[in-house]
Symmetry: C2
Subunit: 474 residues, 2 copies
């Protein structure tokens, strides 16, 4: 990931040198006035906060396939209809994984008091199979990386439980690059089971892929591979990983772990899609969205009720200000971003032939910290066309922009791959991964002021793109 | 508590004005040299860290009456014997409370998706009775204070569950006065059940008395009163309290809670007492101690393995440097500080007639942050006798001292009340109450360098007091 960041900086520098001069006018005077009005209204509005609160607190965790996810679909559709949007539900066939009981305890280690065990805080990873009903007891082998695992002697992990103890880079996060730190750590969560199973392990534990140091376990999707035995996979907290690693240096450590998740029949669910039709080019679309599903340990306030709420607020503000965009603004609350990506993929497939009519796509799925500006995937020369938007956003401290060659959001990824200019808020990611996918992703982590700032960014960007007087280079 | 702090500052100012000039010499030149050598050895030693690690990780949670608490007694006694101390186990009859299952879920609230509930993270408070075996389901009444509870209409909480939603003062903690913030909040944890039961409540929930915002529940002792019905008492996390308060503003909120703790027969346990006999006044004693028991959710690394470990290290360092104090230094690992205080009380009773022979007592039970110096309960004029010790400690940034009229430690409290000059490390308490009594009180929270600084403070203070050439005013 470090290489990617350096590449980004290099690209940015390269752009400055070759920046084209777009022919004015890019935005009408009226549009620029409208953008400033939208910004003021957004910064003064608590609409997005109230929606985030309702999704998090009144509906609760919204794991794909759950009754809460269905309630969220119905709720958001109804709210968007109230705002006068043309709403449709796009039907999806989604995976339906449910968490069960989970328990871990160390049953053998140096110094253990007779008749006791020591609790291990763990959580099944999304998609994992269950352990046997009465649990699985085996020795733990601690490795810090895939390389360490593969360097072990033949047979070293056979029938044992591998703990991937890769340390999330908190310094990198503190510097604002939480996403990069996450990118490094998450490969163990996703790929750990396959790597361990190839060598005959009975199960896999993964140190939480996040910055928390509060005995908080981080769940998230994991994967299996064809031809490789499926083994149970769970995350343990930072603290438990540290304790196990300490004890393993002193002698044999055995754990009894029990997880009882189930993968049920695929379920029917929906993307919620609401159109605010454009006045001049209604067949050209600016997508603005977040995802409606969440992990089940917390209430998914940051991930991603906040993203859905600020997307809804784009429509709310335009209605409030009685503004109609020139191109269509399409609010999408995607389903199943977390454990399958069915919503984003299905929308992308449906719109494949229509990609050129997607003028731009914006996705907010990295929380609700202070936005510094936006990330952008597309032709570098497009940035010059957006300078007037960044100028408006500069007055709220969100005037930066940065190229991200790899894409900016999972749900709009299929559009990005078809060449649709793609955007996401550029957040200060200094704390997001302390809460992401944990039981502490709750409403109190959403700062109303910062959420309003993001609401403003989304609305100004969406309306600006919808009213751009020229096509964007793509 | 604010009043107490102002009082302390006033007292400190008053002292400066009336400070007596003690007649030199207070400490021999050799003692002053020894103190500097002890300090250097302490700052370079990892003994206390290794002991903290063993108590936390290898033995684990040490709730009074548990096998782990007994293992800790045996372990510390053996370690002190290895150091050449005269060790005895002081027998105690201790309460024996054990945690059981615990589960909470909201079963009715505005907007709830049909067929779902929402999880509440809770933990039984120490000493609480159980709910009925199949749980207790009732409406929640949220109050922010005792005053709010008592201002409710007659019958308002009858048969219901009171949630005390008193907000821990994180600003006060951030300013270094975590203990004062805790003092305000903890009265609800301790006294909430009685206050609610008097008005006919069926159970009580208390917002966690700590600074954590990581879905971490804070346990701790609670009390019942004669003549008032005992009702089940549990703490909920900051997040859950916020969510319940939000939902209660919208309508009826009902919870199903189940806790199954048990109070067993009193158990036999021990204070571990090790004497390093004085060379000149062996019958005069300087006590240095911490407590061996811990809460059961975490591993009690900060509370109070660290305090026991730095006390043990006092003896270790003196043995390492081949130093014998003039007065006896008595290392005590107290039992049952957390839920009964039997250890401190029993030692105090045993030594009641001998209080005058206790030259001083030091207790470390507020974690292991950077020590700024020491707190002191005793005659203000005694501080002048300690100035040379503070001068030595000043070189490690621990040269401050502050009067605390109310006492400085629970276990040495009975000695303090008999007039024994009493000391505790003065910690920067900016983070301690984020972890205290939670599952996140684990070894990683102990910074080895800061623990070594505290080990130095304890050893320099203990040896200095043991070698003071004059009696301390008392």
């Amino acid at each position: 990931m470090k290489k990617i960041i350096l590449f980004v900086l290099f690209m940015t520098a390269a752009v400055s040198a070759q920046e084209p001069k777009p022919t004015p006018p890019l935005y009408s005077e009226q549009t620029l006035t409208d953008l400033r009005n939208i910004q003021q209204a957004a910064l003064g509005s608590d609409y997005a906060y109230r929606q985030t609160a309702y999704l998090s607190n009144n509906i609760g965790p919204r794991l794909t396939g759950s009754p809460q996810a269905q309630r969220a679909v119905e709720y958001v559709a109804a709210e968007l209809r109230k705002l006068g949007l043309e709403v449709r539900l796009q039907e999806l066939k989604v995976p339906h994984w449910v968490r069960g009981e989970e328990r871990g305890e160390l049953v053998e280690y140096e110094g253990m008091a007779a008749g006791t065990t020591q609790k291990v805080v763990l959580a099944a990873l999304g998609g994992s199979i269950a352990t046997p009903a009465d649990g699985l007891t085996a020795e733990i082998v601690v490795v810090n990386s895939f390389d360490e695992l593969n360097a072990l002697p033949k047979g070293a992990v056979e029938g044992k439980i591998v703990l991937f103890n890769y340390k999330f880079d908190r310094e990198m996060q503190a510097s604002g690059f939480g996403g990069a730190a996450y990118g490094q750590a998450v490969q163990y969560r996703f790929g750990g089971a396959v790597a361990a199973a190839r060598l005959g392990a009975a199960a896999v534990l993964v140190r939480s892929a996040g910055g928390s140091q509060n005995r908080l376990v981080h769940t998230g999707a994991m994967g299996y591979a064809d031809g490789v035995k499926k083994i149970p996979a769970a995350a343990v907290t930072y603290e438990d990983a540290e304790t196990i690693a300490y004890l393993a240096k002193m002698g044999k450590v055995r754990i009894k772990m029990k997880i009882t998740p189930q993968t049920l029949e695929d379920a029917v669910s929906y993307n919620v899609i609401g159109d605010l039709k454009g006045s001049e080019k209604p067949d050209e679309v600016v997508v603005v969205g977040g995802h409606l599903d969440s992990w089940d340990l917390g209430t998914g306030a940051l991930d991603d009720a906040a993203g859905v709420a600020v997307s809804m607020q784009v429509a709310y503000l335009l209605k409030q200000l009685n503004l109609r965009p020139k191109r269509t603004i399409r609010v999408i609350a995607f389903m199943n971003e977390e454990n399958g990506g069915v919503g984003g993929r299905t929308y992308g497939q449906e719109q494949e032939a229509n990609a050129m009519k997607h003028f731009a796509a914006i996705e907010s799925d990295l929380g609700a910290s202070h936005p510094l500006g936006f990330y952008f995937t597309g032709k570098p020369e497009a940035l010059a066309f957006l300078a007037p938007i960044s100028k408006v956003l500069g007055s709220q401290g969100a005037g930066l922009s940065q190229l991200q060659p790899g894409g900016v959001g999972a749900d709009i990824g299929p559009l990005t791959q078809k060449g649709v200019p793609s955007f996401a808020p550029w957040f200060n990611q200094q704390t997001y991964f302390n809460y992401h996918h944990t039981a502490a992703d709750t409403l109190d982590k959403v700062n109303p002021r910062k959420l309003a700032e993001n609401g403003s960014l989304m609305a100004v960007l969406a309306y600006g793109l919808a009213n751009l007087e020229q096509p964007l280079p793509r």
